[in-house]
Amino acid sequence: MTPDTDISAALQANLLEAIAQGSPVQIVSGGSKTFYGRAPQGEPLSVTGHRGVISYEPTELVITARAGTRLADVEALLAEHNQMLPFEPPHFTGNATLGGAIATGLSGPRRPYAGSARDFVLGIKVLTGKGEILSFGGQVMKNVAGFDVSRFMAGSLGTLGILLEISLKVLPRPESEQTLLFECSALEAIQRMNAWAGQPLPLSGAVFDGGRLYLRLSGSTAALNAAREKLGGELFADGPAFWRDARDHTCTFFQGDAPLWRVSVPAATPPLDLPGEWLIDWGGAQRWLKTSCAPATIRELTAKAGGHATLFRGGDRQGAVFHPLPPALMALHRRLKAAFDPHGILNLGRMYSDL
């Protein structure tokens, strides 16, 4: 582990200087998700020096750490106490930080069963675009005082403020895990994943890739054995590596240069009629599509299915990466951006061209 340092005062001074100069700032951290969102603009301001776990109470199920703390360090500490970040945040190239995980709001395969990154946020300290350091939420599970600005920050891609500290709810690691394997079509996989998710089974992952449905179970050994009896399928020995690769996009499917789309739809939606290769995660709710198909076609079909599509990696990073919003919602986004970043200098254009 790298030494703990608190550089919030320096970050604030840098930001105030940038505000005075009217010079846009690009927030950088571990750099594992630089590819994500629209092309970054502005002077880089690094938060990697702002690191360290501030408090961790295993019996309270709460950890508070500075944004630049490496995700791997946070997870290693939790593992010492047999706990974990339940939303299974992707690390991608390995240098991922806690701040980046929450700012992007991305979650791994456990998400449909355990909850998303934002679901586990309890509180934040943030340096807003006004140059003020503010605290919202706290270190307790239940807190409804004031608007839920902490969870609102999750996934806002640094366009509202620079995350300084984050408090998260954590959970015990399951006693054991097993991965089951089924050969089937995409349609059958989606049907099965959703039928099972409607039953009291200890599911914690469901991915369909290359004609195979991978199902992860988590819980006590006795419960897993009982579930296997009901589900059938073949026991897959290489489970931990498989789920890590699915989380970090290191499996074969994610190789190559074709634009990668993230398609988020209601989980039981039948396979979408779009050309390209698919990997289905989140029990059907998050689908990855490698395609050179026109963005408009992808978005139209996804929207018709009640979802939205993100140009996750590759393709035109100057264009519309995230699904366009209806005018009234976009106008509200602009007003909210102005409420937190009135000078319009934080991660300008990273999410939408005019945010």
């Binding site: 005082a145 004031g146 609102f152 998050q286």
Partner: protein
């Protein structure tokens, strides 16, 4: 600021133009049932109550009020405990009570799309044929509506494992004060742009009027089993909670009651509680059959090691429900032994429980007012019930002062003034303790982004800085007042 009588007449005429006559109430006797919500110590008559039944009618009401600059207070079943639906004397109450339809239960996607006036429990009942249910279960779930649950981010006894309302809502349709319909989220697990669902949930009617809700449904656990443990000391009970969670068990419900609450509940429900115990814990585990069996054994062992004087596992479903019936009836049970009671809703880090309970006991002596403590022990949400008699002159005021001190104590130990009941009108002063002026200013900026005229439930949930100055409760950091430029009264 009082609206002039002629303005009131013009408002009522305008409302009658857009709603059927039976859907506009303005006579004092018709307004009376709306004068308060579940916090009946606060009462106010509005100018009018509107009972629209279509989204178009809601939009029309909002536009009339927007154009005439009249504040609007949205209301569901009126079961809230913080005065969030308390009418404003110069405003209109917008009741969503007629929006009672369950629009869709989609078992394949495990969601339900419902109107805001649908009762919390009705959703689980509609989902039951598919083996599904809606997880958050506030104690008023028979009566409270889902729209109100979203507005307050309601909890219940299963929050540690299943989350609050914010974790169980996927989509909303919301009308802004100027009548714009926003679709936020939907049937997918996420939506593009900012997480407006997080902002809307728990916004206490300050940002928009909810006209449709899409909720997540969960499969009913295969089995649930509850253990009751008695302790001769509340501190030991509190430590047992930490030991259970530290052992890697996340109970579906983990509740604690102190002696006064135990005796009141037992007198009322005859749940079989040990009335001599200083505290009892109810620990429920749920899930796969085998998992529950494993965990019940572990929980029993941990409770014994923690010094429980008695550990009882419910024999069968009937006894399980009986154990819970006592806990769920704790508030009305306390209502039977005291003319009035005042329910607090702070959350604290669990490890600070014993010092918080000791301090509450000291304050109880100081004020001469008994306190029964009911505690969502798993998630740290404490409900001290202060027993008082409103007919005794000055007793309500003393009770409120005592309650305020309890909330200040919750903030001082790193907790919060409200875990699940909301700020509303009740805790508006304590917000000045919990947040510094800069955070409060940021909240107002968020409200302004949604409701620039400040017409949705103004004066609730987020205090103005002037109000905090009047309240005399500004944060004082290092002996310096944060905003010396503000006037003090």
């Amino acid at each position: 600021m009082k609206t002039l009588a002629s303005d009131t007449q013009a408002l009522i005429t305008a409302l009658h133009r857009i709603l059927p006559s039976s859907a506009v109430l303005s006579d004092a006797e018709d307004l009376r049932p709306y004068e308060c919500d579940g916090l009946s110590a606060y009462r106010e008559l509005p100018l009018a109550v509107c009972l629209p039944e279509t989204v178009e009618q809601v939009r029309a009401v909002l536009r009339v009020c927007h154009d005439m600059n009249v504040p609007v207070v949205a209301r569901g079943a009126g079961t809230g405990l913080s005065g969030g639906a308390l009418p404003l004397a110069n405003g209109v109450v917008l009741s969503l009570a007629k929006f009672m339809r369950i629009l869709e239960v989609d078992p394949a996607n495990r969601i339900a799309r419902v109107q805001p006036g649908v009762r919390n429990l009705a959703i689980s009942q509609a989902a039951a044929p598919y083996g599904l249910y809606y997880a958050p279960d506030p104690s008023s779930q028979i009566a409270c509506t889902i729209g109100g649950n979203v507005a307050e981010n309601s909890g219940g006894v299963h929050c540690l494992k299943y989350g609050l309302t914010v974790h169980n809502v996927l989509g909303l349709k919301v009308l802004t004060m100027d009548g714009e319909l926003l679709e936020i989220g939907g049937a997918a697990l996420d939506a593009p742009g900012y997480d407006l669902l997080a902002l809307m949930t728990g916004s206490e009617g300050l940002l928009g009027v909810i006209v449709e809700v899409t909720v997540k449904l969960l499969p009913k656990p295969e089995r649930a089993q509850v253990v009751l443990a008695a302790f001769d000391d509340v501190v030991k009970a509190g430590e047992a909670v930490g030991s259970i969670i530290g052992a890697g068990i996340v109970p579906g419900g983990l509740e604690m009651m102190d002696n006064l609450a135990i005796r009141a509940a037992e007198d009322f429900i005859h749940a079989g509680y040990p009335v001599d115990a200083a505290a009892i814990l109810l620990c429920e585990v749920d899930g796969a059959n085998e998992e529950v069996s494993d965990q019940i054994l572990k929980v029993r062992e941990i409770l014994k090691q923690a010094g429980a004087t008695e550990v009882r596992t419910a024999r069968g479903e009937a006894e399980r429900l009986k154990f819970w019936a006592g806990r769920k009836a704790a508030f009305p049970a306390v209502g039977r032994i005291s003319p009035d009671y005042y329910c607090m809703d702070g959350t604290i880090p669990r490890k600070r429980l014993s010092e918080v309970l000791s301090r509450i006991a000291e304050l109880s002596k100081e004020y001469g007012l008994p306190v029964a403590n009911v505690f969502h022990a798993g998630d740290g949400n404490l409900h001290p019930l202060i027993l008082y008699d409103a007919n005794k002159p000055g007793e309500l005021e003393r009770t409120e002062e005592f309650g305020g001190k309890i909330l200040d104590l919750c903030v001082a130990v790193g907790g919060t003034i409200t875990g699940e009941h909301g700020v509303g009108m009740e805790k508006i002063g304590q917000m000045c303790h919990q947040f510094a002026p800069a955070e409060l200013t940021q909240f107002h900026a968020v409200k302004h982004a949604f409701d620039p005229q400040g017409l949705l439930n103004p004066g609730k949930a987020v205090p103005t800085l002037h109000r905090c100055a009047e309240f005399g409760a500004m944060h004082v950091h290092g002996g310096k007042l944060s905003h010396p430029e503000l006037e003090r009264f």
